[in-house]
Each structure stands twice: as C-alpha cells, then as structure tokens.
C-alpha cells in the first residue's frame, strides 16, 4: 500500500505542476486555458531537441538536464506570453465562450504545429538526458540498476525523488512569490478586481503576461521532467495530461493556488489507488469520474469555500 501511495504522489506532482498554470490563469482572467497541456508537451519537445542539437551537451552529464530545463523555461514561458498577447488579449472583453474556443484552437495549433515539425511518431528521449541513467549503478552482470530509497515498506527511486523534490521546491517558491511579493500581490489584486488594481497603479497587461510566463514555464519544466523520466514523448501527450491537470485544478478548487497543488496530489493518489483496486485500464475513467463527481457535487472543489488566497 505504501508503494501505491508513493506512486500516486509522484504522478500527482506532475499533475500539480501543470494544474498550477491552469489555476493561475483561471484565477486572473477567468479563462480555462486548454492550450496549457500542450505547452507541457512543447516543453518536452524543446528539451529533446536541445539534447540532440546543442553540441557537447552530452559531456555535461546530469548538468545537461539543467541546461535544457533553463532553455525550456525561457521558450515555453515566452510561448505562453505570446499566446496570451496574440490570441486571448484581443478577446479580453468578448464573451467567455469565444475565448474558450480560441483556447481549444490554440491547443490544436500547438499539437499539429509540433507534429508538422517533429513528425507524428513518438520520439525517444535522447540517452544523454535520461534521469534514471544518471542515478543508477552498474551491477556485476553489466546491467544498470536504479538507485532507490526505502520508505516504510515501499521505495522511491532516486529519479522519482529528484523530480518530487524539484516539484515541491518549485511550488513552495511560487507560493512565496504569490503570497509575499509586490508582483504576487498585484496578481491577487487583479484576480479580485481588475479595475481597482489598475487604479492602484498595477499594469494589468504586464501582470497578466507575467502570470502566463510563470504558468507556462512550470508546465515546460514538467514536460522536460516527463521526458527525462519516461523516455518517450508524443505530440499528443499534453492532451490527456492537460485534462488531468484541469481535473486536478477542479478537485482542489480552481483559481486557488493551494487547491491546485492539493488537487494534483489528490488526483495522483486517487488514480494510483483506483488502478490498484480495479486494474490499470480504469485509470483515466477513474480520473474523469472524479471530475464529474466534483463538478456536480462540489464544483468549488476542496478548498473552494475558503476564498482566502484565491488565485
């Protein structure tokens, strides 16, 4: 059972990272950015391309991952900002549905844009960037053995631990940024009352751009980690994960930062426990049954009623 929970938390940390971007954007402009999952996918493709294309990156060892993370953060963040400025901002005062449909269109654009460039087949993650290879030993027979840490009667591999720790650090940093800094305060102010925020001297457009940069960059990070861990990426991988992250955001209470984190981990756990009980083929069914349950029974999510810290 411990192992089931550990696996759930691990998968949940991916959901949480992506759900954060969903939730931040919803909090600030009340838009369900359905292109967000595809930013995650785009981040993974950027990482893969860097591993292939940057000369000498293989000699950096695990430092190569730091380099591709950085490139991916910059490029996915910028992509998010551009998407907002070109596709969503002109529709700021349009009916919600128009923007929502635009977001779906943007999602297709990213998916099939990537397919056009890198092709429809799943891409193997280059061997110079596989996390497990850096964190394993070679045993007597020459086979690679993953290093792992026992936790109660289960275990987490070093790679899982690194990803989990990285996700936790990122989320803590984001919570501090939103909660304590001048810019974070401005973001919360816009989420509450856009006009009042601009009367305080907040540059609303610049702040919304900043939210898109941060949210997209976090998805980009998740994309690279996904590639480095699972070793294979496809142009449609953002579709399902995006929907799962959306589910996580709803479970936690969309628009709520802590809700996104909690929802991500909760969904990971629910899936993990559910598949253990019912079998792996029920995994996605399980997730979306919870989405429907929450939407009908408690649409505000777990933390939805605590309106404090909204955004």
């Amino acid at each position: 059972m411990t192992q089931v929970i550990l696996n759930g938390l691990f998968v949940g940390s991916f959901y949480a990272l992506i759900a954060l971007g969903y939730s931040m954007v919803y909090g600030i402009i009340k838009l369900l950015n359905f292109a967000h999952g595809d930013i995650f996918m785009f981040g993974a493709y950027i990482g893969m391309t860097c591993l292939v294309a940057i000369p000498g990156i293989g000699s950096l060892g695990i430092g190569a991952l730091a380099v591709i993370l950085l490139v991916s953060i910059v490029l996915t963040g910028t992509t998010g900002v551009l998407i907002e400025a070109l596709a969503y901002r002109p529709l700021r005062t349009a009916p919600r549905l128009s923007v929502l449909i635009t977001a779906v269109g943007m999602s297709f654009f990213l998916e099939y844009g990537v397919r056009q460039i890198w092709g429809p087949d799943p891409q193997p993650w280059p061997s110079n960037g596989r996390l497990s290879d850096f964190l394993s030993t070679t045993d007597a027979t020459g086979a690679k053995q993953q290093l792992s840490v026992p936790i109660f009667d289960g275990a987490l591999t070093y790679s899982q631990l690194v990803i989990l720790a990285f996700a936790v650090v990122l989320m803590a940093a984001l919570a501090l940024y939103i909660g304590k800094t001048r810019e974070g305060r401005a973001m919360r102010a816009i989420a509450l009352d856009q006009r009042a925020a601009s009367l305080m001297g907040v540059n609303v457009n610049a702040t919304i751009s900043r939210v898109f940069f941060i949210g997209s960059a976090m998805a980009g990070v998740a994309g690279v980690m996904h590639g480095a861990y699972y070793s294979s990426i496809t142009f449609l991988m953002g579709f399902l994960l995006g929907l799962k992250a959306f589910t996580a955001a709803v479970i936690g209470g969309i628009g709520n930062l802590y809700g996104a984190m909690l929802g991500g981990l909760t969904l990971g756990l629910l899936e993990s426990i559910g598949t253990t009980l019912l079998g792996g083929e029920w995994k996605d069914v399980f997730a979306f049954v919870f989405l429907i349950l929450f939407l009908t029974v408690k649409p505000t999510g777990i933390l939805g009623e605590r309106v404090v810290e909204r955004m």
């Binding site: 305060r185 401005a186 509450l192 009352d193 009042a196 925020a197 009367l199 305080m200 001297g201 810290e309």
Partner: protein, 236 residues
C-alpha cells in the same frame, strides 16, 4: 489654463453618449465637487481623468501634461489617485496588504512603511485592524481604508467617487473631515457626490453635471444658496 483642465469632452459607452462637451477646471490646492444625479456622468468623468475611459473628442490636461491618452497605471505613478465608487477594497486581503497595494508604484519599501504608519495615525481604527481582512470591515472602515490606500502614493490630485455612499450621517461627517485634512496637508481634491450638502460644506467650488454636461458652477458657498441647487440636490 487650469491646473486640471477638462475641455469639450465627448465620451461614449458603445453607442450611448455619457459625456457631452463637458468642460471644467480645478486649481492646485482646491477641493472641487462634482454634483449631480445618478447617471449624470460624474463617475464617468472621474474615471476618464483616471485614464480608465478615453474620450472620443476633447482633451484632459493636468499639471502641464496632456493626459488624455495616458493609461491608468501611469497616471497613478504621475500623482493621480482615485478612491473608487463602492470602495472596491480587496476583500480577501488584509488591511495592511490593501495599503501596500496602494503603494504599488512606490519602489522604496521604507517610504511605503512610513506612509502606512501615517495613514494609521490619521485613521487609528485602521491601525487596530491592520491584520484583518478588508471584507470584514464595516462600511465606514472600508471607506477609510479606500482613502488610506489612495494616500500611500502621496498623490498630487486625489479623486473621490461618492465617499459618503451608504454611510450613516455621523460617519459621513467623519469622512468629510478626513478629506478636509488631506486637502489642508496640500493635496488637491476632486470629489464626486450625490450627497451635495456634505460635499458643499468642504468644497471651495462646485460644478453641477446633468446629462453629461456642466449646467451650473460657482463657489460652493454660493451654490449652497442657489435655489435650483437647493431644489434639485439638497432636497429642501
């Protein structure tokens, strides 16, 4: 030209015209009141001066600048602050956070802290409630907070939109007293009020706006005696 000069302004919401050839002026150091009924265009005028709405024709000049096309957040930085209608407190943020947001354009943290303390000195009730959420304050306290929040930038021009709205008469007098203080400390004030009586008590001059244009203007003391104003706005 006046220090703040609004000249021949037309402003539309879609196809509906809200302001029609509106002109008025405010001199440095004054308290000027804009009076008029609901829907006369008073709030629209303040929001236009604040840069939220842009006029179709006409111009707004202030302190030697043409500010007709300058954006709201820039104007705050330049020295125009607004206390919006309905207060618009950030309800889930604490009193202190609300005040810090008021100082968003002030880069120096020590200056913000000093000015927040000055607001607490001017309005001690806020100081007592500094860690309380804005939404939990009473109407009067929220109005104080909205005014305090606008003072953190040390504005040259303070715009107030219906500061007496929804307040008991005693509180209205208190709020007007605070505005009077702020003006005496050197801030020019442009105040929009439906409560003409309260506004005329502290204002130097006033304009009556009807249907998007100025219909009467003059020193506050004179307007308070004007039969037309008494009948239409003072309810006597």
């Amino acid at each position: 030209m006046s220090w703040l000069e609004v000249k021949d302004v037309d402003l539309f919401y879609g196809k509906v015209q809200a302001l029609r050839g509106l002109s008025f002026g405010v001199e440095q150091g004054e308290i000027v009141a804009l009076l008029g009924n609901n829907g006369a265009g008073k709030s629209t005028t303040l929001n236009m001066v604040s840069g939220i709405f842009r006029p179709a024709t006409g111009s707004v000049n202030w302190d030697g600048h043409d500010i007709t096309k300058i954006k709201a957040h820039k104007l705050v930085e330049m020295g125009i602050a607004q206390v919006p209608e309905g207060r618009r407190i950030f309800s889930t943020m604490t009193v202190e956070e609300n005040l810090k947001l008021g100082g968003y354009t002030v880069r120096d943290k020590a200056t913000i802290t000093r000015r927040i303390e000055r607001v607490f000195h001017l309005m001690p009730r806020l100081g007592e409630r500094r860690s309380q959420e804005g939404g939990t304050l009473s109407g009067g306290e929220q109005q104080m907070l909205a005014i305090g929040r606008a003072l953190i930038t040390s504005p040259k021009l303070l715009l107030l939109d219906e500061p007496s709205m929804g307040l008991a008469p005693l509180l209205v007098a208190q709020v007007m007293e605070i505005i009077h203080h702020i003006n005496e400390a050197g801030t020019t004030v442009l105040i929009v009020e439906q409560n003409a009586k309260a506004a005329l008590k502290i204002a130097h001059r006033a304009y009556v706006i009807d249907n998007g244009t100025v219909t009467l203007s003059g020193p506050a003391a004179e307007l308070a005696q004007d039969q037309r104003v008494i009948e239409a706005y003072l309810g006597m």
